[in-house]
Amino acid sequence: MNKTDFRKLVSERILILDGAMGTELQKRGFLKGVNAPEELNVKFPERIQEIQKDYFEAGSDIVIANTFGANRHKLADYGLENRVEELNVRGIEISRQSAKKYNGLVAGDIGPVGAYLAPLGKVAFDEAYEIFSEQAKALQKAGADLIIIETMAEIREVKAALLASKDNFSGPVAVQMTFTEDGTAVTGTDVLAFLSVAEAMGADAVGMNCSVGPKALAKLAKILCENTSLPVSFKPNAGMPKLVNRETVFPGTPEEFAEAGKLACSYGVNLIGGCCGTGPDFIRALAKQVKGGKPVSRKPKEKFFLSSRTKAIDIASVKDFIKIGERINPTNRKKFQEELLSGNFTTLRREAKEQVKSGAAILDINLGLPGADEKTLMSKAVEEIQEVVSVPLCLDSSSVETLEAGLKACAGKCLINSVNGEKEKLEKIIPLAKRYGAGLIGLVTDEKGIPKTAGERLEIAKRIIEYAQEHGIPSSEIVIDYLTLAASAMPGAIKETLAAIKESKQKWPNVKTVLGISNVSFGLPSRQILNATFLNIAKEEGLDMAILDPYAQMSLTINPIAKDLLLGEVRAGSSAPKDSLDKFIQEYGYNPQKPIAKKQVELNSDEKLYSSVVEGNKEEIKKDVEMVLKNGKPPLSIANDILIAALNEVGAKFNSKEYFLPQVIRSAEAAQSAFEVIKPLLKKDGSASSPYKIVLATVQGDVHDIGKNIVAAVLESHGWEVIDLGKNVGAKAIVDAAKKENAPLIGLSALMTTTMIEMEKVVKERDAAKISAKIIVGGAPVTEKYAKEIGADGYGKDAVEAAKTASKLAKL
């Protein structure tokens, strides 16, 4: 089915989807003889067809094939990862047979990959895209009428699935997320944030399924219907299931399900069916209420959504002036640059948080700095910023690859800053914005450079808007930047900018306008007065948003002297612009800086390194070590007199409970970084033959290893070389490793009474192997008494004590 036919069909009549497949299979005992439900498509197709027949008989117009989990990642749990195509193709084929008699449609079903995308989980965006693409290709091959992507819980996974489906499937693609009672997905995305992404990426229908039951979900469907002109699909479950006495009980009845369905249709839902717990009875009751009805037509106001992971803002209806924070930009900020180059995002995260606190509604991210891999940096920065704030982002780069990396990492709908009137830029960036669903800032420059007059700037704006429209981006999703030129360098130019804004707002009222404010005062004193005046004049001309420093206190008034300067106006007794510039400088040129806060007591480099360990300053410590080395302190002395001494103080603070565990580990991480610098030097100058070595493992049968990992971090922070064998390691493997590594020490961890007995086996294995390695043990159920009983050489009740004991044992 092509997209136009689909759109026509769903606008003519309400289409009934089917009810649950999974819970129905369970209820009928149809999962016997298979591991993965999708295997039924091949092994017992008649079971699927029996259920589908019941749905068609009950009134379904569309059945959704049994391909929900038929992706490589999920099928791998059953060793079926190489049968993706077969299981999908068969899934469609058998459904097609079911549908024939009823003239019904068949949808391919795409469910989540089964693990979250990074950074929430471990699947990379591109990996998820590949997984979904493989499935979508199979559904295309099998000739499904449409694809329904459903039960999505994470927005970047929605992006990957939608992208893969649109790239590989020619029919319509509907996408549904699953929400909790408060109207957000478990990962925090609310209904409008979801809509903003799905709509901008070109979904053919948007909707929701499962989760909270029909009545609560209908409320959320209402929000969707009020905000989009796309077809809306609605597939609630039969309430939150209760799992009581080995049975799954859904609290909902067919009647209340049908009632909620009717309500949802009154909001304008186009496709309606049921999820978990809804069987043919539910569909029958629903069909009786709504089948064949004409969908309520919806005429939502034009929107311009931008969104973060959690929420959306509608730029078209925001009343307040929109501030785009410009501080995530390392230009001329040496320390910030150094941090970014070394992979330290402390300042970046802080700037993100502070700007939002200061009123920024959107954050611009510009990471162009010499020597950086801008693409990787953009992707990482987007992830970092999204962890600490929830405002939409504005990706600012001249590199297409960088923009694409940022778009993949973005968990919402962002702005691209920017495209301009150059042919090459238009051709590359506009399709990118369409593909990933982003709004656009268009800069009115082109191959010829910066146009002087307002008229020329509007020409370029027109070119950008028209090109975007031709490529499926409506003019309401475009923001034009009419250029801020420095008042000191280009007197008179400001007038053209203001004229362009005014004319633009008259010509294209729904096209937004933006200016970078700060550039206006470049090279002048008292910049804030000029910036504020410029902003306030521009607002009067109709400026919608500005890229600026949100920390700056912006006066809301227009300063007349600054205005003269900006507009180059001539007053009685003076001639512009030179005079107005002089006058401004005369008035505001004396601009004493606030006294810098009283100087902190200067620490010498040794003390600074010491306190970096104690304070857990992982981000800065490498620099501190370099400084101490530069001052001529030998590496061994740095290790013993500074790092270990500082760790001893940390240990003392831990024992007196002044520090709790996270502080200890942060110090350990800092010391670890410091040791990374001096370790190679220690080896080189022979001052320590080799650092102490320890083989560390969680014993066989035990899969909990956080404790062992903590001990590893603390030991490494003391300069130990840790051979970490991981978890669930057999006695022989541990002893073999100790032998091979010639390690003087073995550390064992166990978290359960059932597994700590393994420790004794390791002791025996060591004795049998006749190696001299000492064994130190620890873990929740392990006591000092037990350690002695099994013949271990040492015991650590916590990580700090383990490190002490280890040092003692190694020196024996």
Partner: protein
């Protein structure tokens, strides 16, 4: 039985309990700003990763002379401790709860990235939330049965007292815990790690 399934929409991550779990002592610990910030960020992330699930079972209690008891439809508990706990109870309730495996996946990612502090904090949040779910379920049962004049005892889990950890296998089967994704390793450890199972009794009188 009218226990409402746990919904994340109503769940908070109690920061104080996370701090206590990490060894915080109100009297002496002086946390610094950076650590505080790290914990706050971890809690925000964790909110997106918790998928609470709950399964409940109940049965009349058949006593076996102080040595243990039998529950329908054929689950036998051999434990004097439990026999004592449920001494004057006619009904036993069992439950299992889990927060899913997303938190531990994220923790393991932090370990790989050598972000040990974040791993530690994420792990602590997971443990606290699994306990929270157990507490919520316990109090749901308490509230549900109180109007019927019944009093819920404290709860008891396999691996405590004389109820061996190996009893977990039959206990989880009796609960039907597989349906919320809880599996058991050969050494009777639950996966996802952040899961709790427990039994309690309902008595006519409060002890």
């Amino acid at each position: 039985m009218n226990i409402n399934p746990v919904q994340f929409a109503n769940l908070e991550i109690p920061r104080k309990k996370v701090l206590l779990r990490l060894g915080f002592s109100a009297a002496s610990t002086r946390p610094d700003e950076k650590t505080d910030e790290l914990i706050a960020e971890s809690i925000e992330t964790a909110k997106k990763l918790i998928v609470p699930r709950q399964v409940v079972a109940f049965s009349a209690v058949k006593k076996e002379g102080g040595q243990g008891l039998r529950l329908e439809p054929g689950f036998k508990i051999t434990s004097k401790d439990i026999a004592k706990l449920l001494d004057n109870c006619e009904t036993a309730y069992g439950f299992a709860v889990t927060i899913g495996n997303k938190i531990e996946e994220k923790r393991d990612l932090h370990v790989q990235e050598k972000e040990t502090t974040r791993a530690l904090v994420m792990d602590a949040i997971g443990s606290v939330m699994a306990e929270e779910l157990a507490e919520i379920t316990h109090s749901q049962i308490r509230q549900e049965t109180k109007p019927k004049g019944l009093f819920a005892t404290r709860r008891f889990s396999p691996g405590y007292g004389d109820w061996p950890l190996s009893a977990q296998k039959d206990f989880l089967a009796w609960l039907g815990a597989e349906s919320i994704g809880i599996k058991l390793t050969d050494n009777f450890q639950m996966l996802p790690e952040k899961s709790v199972s427990a039994i309690l009794g309902l008595a006519r009188e409060q002890k």
